[in-house]
Symmetry: C2
Subunit: 69 residues, 2 copies
DNA sequence: GCAAAATGTCAAGTGTACTTTACAATGATG
DNA sequence: CATCATTGTAAAGTACACTTGACATTTTGC
């Protein structure tokens, strides 16, 4: 698993659709992020970090190279 | 000023070219970021935050809507 | 005051984050 | 089993992050 998104979403009992709505993006975007298909924009990363009460770094677990762990 | 990038770069006595090289992007990208023309990718935001020893949030001062203050 | 370094601007191009739509697969519940 | 909610997949299109290159302007140091 590339990030904690799916795990966190499920811990809040949210559907992909709900999370997408709260973050202001499409459901497809949430799916792709959960699958690690691409990196979110800083804006979306920030919104998601607020929803989950984490820092961007905590949520997307970046290493020194700026790549996902 | 949309963010603290220029101010921080100057405080470290770095040229745009040096910062661009350290962040692994073009000088043009640094110029545009300093001017607030667009938001960095999360990867670039992370690299810059490491260079300046700040969190992404501290560096790019985002508000609740995910927009710059 | 001149030269060189640093900064800025413009424009065209590439890559990728994100959207939209449509449909298939899986899972939960009566 | 049947049905509905949820998740997944695929493909084509749009927006924007980022590059490259060429040149103009400002700043700095001798």
């Amino acid at each position: 698993m590339e990030n904690r998104l799916k795990e966190l979403r499920e811990s809040l009992a949210m559907t992909q659709e709900e999370l997408a709505a709260r973050a202001g993006v499409s459901r497809q975007t949430i799916i792709s992020l959960e699958k690690g298909k691409y990196n979110p924009s800083i804006t979306l990363a920030y919104k998601l970090s607020k929803i989950f009460g984490l820092s961007i770094e905590e949520l997307f677990m970046l290493n020194e190279g700026g790549e996902k762990i």
